[in-house]
């Protein structure tokens, strides 16, 4: 019982999840420059994700495609009016019961919806107690189809926080889905589960009923790589061709100071077909501050293909996708920042995921929400650099604090938003810093970056200059990400409210929909005109004109 955050424990979570619809139009992104020897079409062609060509209308991974940009370029006229209150239902297509918390997904592919949750509303009466559950529902009706169930790790909260369920958002390609379980296993499973009675691949599943999962292979990062996931294993896999990229969640022990496995990798590349390790990197090494709950993204810049990994040391790094050679690294914190548990710590790592848009990388720093709100930094980075491309370099000897620095001639920082607020802004925001620690992944569209912070402010920034266009107080903490769809920006918060903004350089007062039933901590997505929205206990499918009602669920 280490507490927690203690506190409130948990946190952790983070997770994340999100969603988006694929389709970010970056046609060049995936054409031929994929890293695998025999590139299958990859993650994202406009309008579809590579291996789900039979299902063009889908949202197959965290961020919708490998750029992780939280925009959906396909959907038109998403629902902007609904009620899920019992007896006052409006535009509700269906509702599905989840566990008590749900941070993974929703992912929509192969006619199904996939969600990571826990076992607190058991779908199988024979499986009770705290578990990590990856649930699969029918996309058309919300009917529960099958679930993968993972026991909790015996070490308890230090490696697998109680009740947090599956925090990884799965990636679906064709008839296969990939995710990371709460036990630190990378899982490849069939999208049909065992509903068709065919057990393919590995046959050592613990649960083998018709509503159980069919695992093809599992790769145990704890057993195989000596990874010590801090609180939760949460990565949303990135698949490019035959290769899959993951952060391992390696982090500190229960005492929060010791890193038990400094040699274990933070970033890995697996063969998606076999689950075999291709390369590994422990680049953050002993500088991991807490855990590593963010996700990689993939880019093809004008010079080369790269996989971008956010590290537990607050740096992001680029790797050559096939070899794992480090191309560049960037410190997202000021050199005089310091990691301290609590609201005053100035150095952070990442919960949000890097986004690639218009040839640049965008990411904000953040922490476990259990550490409270605090100062954050949001960056736009040019990915065409080499070596240390941080804004500044340290000139004083190691161990000197605060260190002496000088501007880095190799800096690839395009712009920065964050840090100390000018007085007028500080008075307006009611705090001394601009953007705070964020758990969100950005949505970037039409030259505008939409990003929220944990403190509940949504910012619209000029994507070219970083100039703030506007901000809005969402009046509740934000764990999830904004989603841009057809000129609207959707975002949920801890107060159980969804705000819907008109996208644009001028702020217009948002529409507020009180969803109720607790915090909205995951992301939304829209597929085929249906908005998928998760509270901690329910998955709602919202569709204009639908006449569904809340039943016993």
């Amino acid at each position: 019982m280490a507490s927690s955050a203690n506190l409130r424990p948990l946190f952790a979570a983070l997770m994340t999840a999100v969603v988006g619809l694929a389709v970010v139009g970056l046609p060049y992104l995936l054409q031929s420059k994929t890293p695998s020897a025999a590139p299958t079409a990859v993650a994202a062609e406009p309008g579809k994700s590579a291996t789900t060509s039979a299902q063009p209308h889908a949202w197959t991974m965290f961020g919708g495609d490998a750029t992780r940009n939280m925009v959906n370029l396909v959907e038109k006229n998403p629902p902007t009016d609904w009620s899920v209150k019992k007896g006052k239902e409006k535009n509700l297509k269906w509702v599905a019961r989840l566990g008590s918390r749900a941070y993974g997904g929703p992912i929509v592919a192969d006619g199904k919806v996939f969600v990571g949750t826990n076992n607190d509303a058991p779908r199988n009466p024979e499986i009770v107690g705290d578990k990590g559950n990856l649930m699969c529902f029918d996309q058309a009706t919300g009917k529960f189809l099958w679930q993968a169930v993972h026991d909790k790790l015996e070490a308890g909260r230090v490696n697998d926080w109680p009740k947090e369920g599956i925090c990884s958002t799965p990636t679906v390609e064709g008839k296969l889905l990939y995710y990371v379980s709460n036990r630190g296993e990378v899982v490849c499973a069939r999208t049909d589960g065992l509903t068709d009675g065919k057990n393919e691949g590995e046959t050592t599943e613990k649960y083998k009923g018709p509503t159980s999962a069919d695992f093809i292979w599992r790769y145990d990062m704890i057993n195989t790589l000596n990874v010590n996931p801090h609180n939760m294993s949460s990565c949303c896999p990135l698949i490019i061709g035959d290769l899959m990229y993951l952060t391992t969640s390696n982090g500190v022990d229960a005492g929060h100071l010791k890193l038990p496995s400094p040699e274990a990798p933070s970033f890995i590349c697996l063969n998606k077909k076999t689950g075999k390790l291709i390369w590994r990197s422990n680049a953050p090494g002993k500088n991991i501050m807490h855990g590593q709950w963010s996700n990689p993204c993939y880019i093809e810049s004008k010079e080369r293909a790269q996989v971008i990994f956010p590290g537990g040391d607050g740096w992001i790094r680029s790797f050559e996708p096939r070899s794992g050679e480090e191309l560049w690294r960037f410190d997202c914190n000021p050199k005089d920042s310091k990691y301290d548990l609590g609201g005053k710590g100035t150095r952070s790592d990442f919960i949000g995921t890097p986004v690639y848009a218009d040839g640049k990388i965008y990411i904000g720093t953040g922490q476990d929400p259990e550490h409270n709100e605090g100062v954050g930094h949001f960056w736009c980075i040019d990915p065409n650099g080499k070596g240390d491309v941080s804004p500044d370099v340290v000139t004083s000897a190691p161990g000197v604090f605060p260190p002496k620095t000088k501007p880095n001639p190799n800096s690839k920082a395009v712009w920065h938003y964050g840090g100390d607020a000018p007085k007028a802004d500080a008075d307006d925001l009611g705090r001394d810093y601009l953007i705070g620690r964020t758990m969100s992944t950005a949505a970037i569209k039409d030259g505008i970056v939409y990003i929220a912070d944990l403190g509940g402010y949504l910012f619209a920034l000029d994507a070219k200059t970083g100039k703030r266009l506007w901000w809005h107080d969402l009046e509740g903490q934000v764990w999830g990400s904004p989603l841009w769809v057809d000129g609207k920006v959707f975002i949920g918060n801890d107060a159980g409210v969804v705000h819907i903004f008109e996208a644009g350089r001028e702020k217009k007062e948002p529409k507020k929909i009180v969803v109720g039933g607790g915090a909205i901590r995951s992301n939304m997505t829209v597929v085929d005109g249906v908005l998928y929205l998760m509270s901690s206990q329910y998955l709602y499918a919202i569709e204009t004109g639908a006449k569904g009602t809340i039943g016993k669920e």
Binding site: M1, A2, S3, A5, N6, L7, R8, R97, G99, S100, D120, D130, L153, E154, A155, G156, R157, V158, N159, P162, K163, G184, I222, N223, N226, P229, D253, A254, G255, H256, L257, K258, L259, P260, S261, E263, K286, D340, L341, G342, G343, K344, T346, N372, E373, G374, V375, G430, R431, D432, Y433, G436, G455, E475, G476, Q477, D494, A495, G517, G518
Partner: protein, 763 residues
């Protein structure tokens, strides 16, 4: 313990009016978050020179809990200092001016709790004695007089195996009659070997144990709930949420369980409120049996009970009648307020709910912030509440809605100013703590008389001729050296837990309970007990066991621990294989004696990767030991890439070999760490090392010196690692430290210990 507890208690309640204007417990004079004060401001400003600022004073003493106000003084616990100078402190301020009257600083050691979570308990003040009680981060349970003199102190980690994770959730003490009562999670020896949520009641004047109660259910978590005492169904009961997820009521003077209710799957962290027989409390995470619902507000009739039985274990308990409950309101750390038939509850996400206290009808809810940590306080028709992220909010609750009157955001120090605390209100002033400062807010010309505080429900007096229904041996915890003696008393109580008197009992020394999983239990205590005079054997250097008193068909036990005097040598040869040395604290289940290489050694257990079992200290001496040297043979085993961390402890400093970093370290409070000297030291598995650690106190400093060398080679002349501590730990129990590394069951790195020698330093 002094006589008639019941009478003293009644007296206490009657006299509480004499202390009107005090806020001696964190939830105020009625334990319900309501202040009687009138004419309080609805806003304040920090602007210098603002004539309407309502800020009477501000002083740089931060706190993450709640100040108490007693007899014109404000008392708080918090952290102070940075780096090697970081400590916990209790301060006493003048309630009119904020001027410091006294301050006591304490080191922190041997605990996972990090800087920002230091001092997450509130103090309790006793009107009768003027004493102040503190539960410190490092496990010091301390009684101060009003001038800061320490009346008594216990070290709960070193003597009782108190547990707390890095989150720092700890409960605060509560005073009732002659008792101070504290809930903890602990694991120790004998009948406390199992990790559990236990309540400890001590004599408020001496600190000696009156009773221990184990709630009897599986503990899930550390927890934060501070109990409340009230007369329910004619009995004086202590009501508390627990780390086991239950709500428990126990007789306050005996600790006998009266009722329990399984509310939460994790822990219950908020405090209850009580009005007559009715009890309200909440839960902030998954509800037990709640089909995945998170959070609840629940209302019991604590005098209407039904017997329940767990079909799996056969365990029975009494359950109170649920009058109403509302699910999906996450009541995590903030405790409810009860005022005029309304229950105000702050949800974790910064939303205040108002319920009809009778039936749970929601009257309104109001978003006031982002994240609740501190609790609401009702006063002068307003509700004062904090948001952990730098906000202080004043609300005006109405019949059908709630108005936000004012939001104050604390700024100016960089980052977020955490506001974890709850305001205390006394004498027309609001004492508001942030992580950095204490603010005193009020009207300069305040003179309004407070409301009258309703008299609490009186407990019927005991019939002194009633048949005893419960015995307690006093003191219940006995710690002796070999050959030592202790005079024990037996106190009798009636069936309502009211004190009847002392009785002359029959005495015996029964065998201790057989530990879980063991086939044979430890032997009975070696010694004699005659008419309550216990004398333990003078040749057995360490042992433990119960002393039993019998009277009128009733039995009661004291827990006796015999602690070695120095010098002490331990080669484990007399300990049976599978057992642990008798009288060591927090050893059972974490270490075990086994044969290795023809000798008996103590092995760190390697089955369970839960940090509470994998990373432990086991204490062999008294916390008051000082000026000694500890030596031991220590060997680590490899599993895969992992090596353990292992070492010895003197004066709360650990000398350890660290496996992952391949260093030898001297460290104290390693979660921060306040002091941490590391030297590269290549070492391998399956090699015995000799450890030697000594602490010399000199000129207000400690000089800590350690040596580690391969066993069998000559002891090096020079110390391997040496460090000076300007904030010395002046004493502490000798101990072993083992951190078995690994996340997989049965694949943790083993550690072996042998040939321990603890010797006094030569003068």
């Amino acid at each position: 313990m002094r006589n008639a507890l019941g009478l003293a208690l009644a007296f206490l309640w009657l006299t509480s009016d004499a202390h009107a204007g005090d806020w001696r417990t964190w939830r105020g004079p009625q334990y319900n978050g309501v202040a009687p004060d009138r004419d309080l401001p609805s806003k304040f400003s920090e602007k210098p020179g603002d004539p309407n600022s309502n800020l009477l004073w501000k002083v740089p003493y931060g706190c993450r809990s709640t100040p108490i106000v007693m007899d014109g003084r404000v008392f708080m616990i918090g952290d102070v200092g940075e780096g090697v100078n970081e400590q916990e402190r209790v301060v006493c301020l003048d309630a009119d001016t904020g001027k410091l009257i006294w301050e006591k600083r304490f080191n922190i050691w041997l605990v996972d709790i990090v800087s920002s979570r230091v001092g997450w308990t509130s103090l309790a003040g006793d009107a009768e004695t003027g004493y102040i009680y503190a539960h410190g981060t490092q496990g010091l349970f301390t009684c101060f007089d009003k001038n800061g003199k320490i009346i008594w102190q216990r070290s709960l980690i070193e003597e009782n195996g108190r547990i707390c994770g890095y989150g720092g959730r700890l409960a605060s003490p509560v005073i009732d009659g002659d008792l101070v009562i504290l809930g903890i999670v602990n694991a120790n020896f004998g009948d406390q070997a199992r990790g559990a949520n236990r309540f400890l009641a001590v004599d408020k004047r001496t600190g000696k144990t009156v009773w221990w109660t184990d709630t009897g259910f599986q503990v899930n978590d550390t927890y934060q709930c501070t109990p409340v005492v009230g007369v329910i169904g004619g009995q004086r009961l202590l009501v508390s949420g627990g780390g086991d997820g239950w709500v428990h009521a126990m007789k306050v003077r005996t600790g006998e369980m009266v009722w329990s209710y399984h509310l939460a799957e994790k822990a219950v962290n908020c405090s209850p409120v009580i009005d007559g027989d009715i009890v309200w409390i909440g839960n902030g995470e998954e509800n037990f049996g709640g089909n995945g619902s998170q959070g609840a507000v629940i209302c019991f009739n604590g005098a209407s009970l039904t017997e329940k039985k767990d079909p799996k274990t056969g365990k029975t308990w009494m359950e109170p009648k649920v009058l109403w409950r509302v699910d999906d309101v996450k009541v995590m750390f903030a405790s409810p307020v009860l005022k005029d038939g309304r229950l105000y509850v702050a949800e974790e996400t910064g939303k205040l709910f108002c319920f009809d206290a009778k039936n749970g009808t929601e009257l309104w809810n109001q978003q006031y912030g982002r994240a609740a940590r501190g609790s609401p306080v009702w006063a002068d028709g307003k509700i004062y509440i904090t948001d952990v992220n730098a906000r202080f909010v004043v609300l005006q609750p109405g019949d059908t809605d709630c108005k936000k009157l004012y939001t104050h955001i604390f700024r100016g120090t960089g980052g977020t100013v955490e506001v974890n605390g709850t305001p205390a209100i006394a004498n027309g002033r609001i004492y508001l703590p942030t992580a950095d400062n204490l603010y005193c807010i009020g009207k300069k010309d305040h003179s309004a008389e407070p409301d009258k505080i309703p008299a609490p429900v009186k407990e019927p007096a005991a019939d002194k001729d009633a048949k005893p229904a419960k015995l307690l041996v006093y003191p219940l915890d006995v710690v002796l050296h070999p050959g030592g003696t202790e005079k024990l008393e037996v106190h009798s109580y009636d069936d309502h837990g009211r004190f009847l008197g002392k009785v002359e009992a029959e005495w015996s020394l029964p065998a201790p309970p057989i530990p879980p999983m063991a086939k044979v239990g430890p032997p009975p205590l070696k010694g004699t007990v005659e008419k309550g005079l216990l004398t333990v054997d003078s040749k057995l250097v360490r042992q433990m066991g119960p002393v039993e008193a019998s009277f009128g068909g009733l039995k009661a036990r004291a827990r006796v621990r015999v602690v070695p005097t120095l010098p002490y040598t331990e080669d484990f040869e007399k300990v049976p294989v599978g057992a642990v040395p008798g009288g060591w604290v927090n050893c059972a289940g974490k270490f075990v004696v086994e044969e290795k290489g023809g000798s008996k050694v103590l092995r760190k257990t390697t089955a369970n990767p839960n940090p509470l079992l994998a990373q432990v200290y086991s204490y062999m001496g008294l916390p008051s030991y000082s000026d000694y040297t500890i030596e031991a043979d220590v060997m680590g085993g490899r599993v895969g890439d992992n090596l353990p961390d292992m070492g010895v402890v003197a004066n709360r400093y650990t000398l350890q070999l660290d496996g992952a970093s391949q260093t030898v370290r001297i460290v104290t409070w390693d979660a921060v760490p306040r002091l941490d000297k590391q030297i590269p030291f290549k070492w391998k598995e399956d090699q015995w090392f000799r450890f030697k650690l000594t602490v010399e106190l000199k000129d207000d400093k400690a000089i800590i010196k350690g040596k580690v060398w391969p066993k069998g080679t000559p002891e090096p002349e020079k110390w391997t690692v040496e460090v000076e501590d300007p904030k010395p730990n002046t004493e502490g129990a000798p101990a072993l430290y083992g951190n078995a590394i690994g996340a997989i069951v049965n694949q943790l790195t083993p550690i072996w210990f042998d040939n321990i020698v603890v010797t006094p330093n030569k003068k």
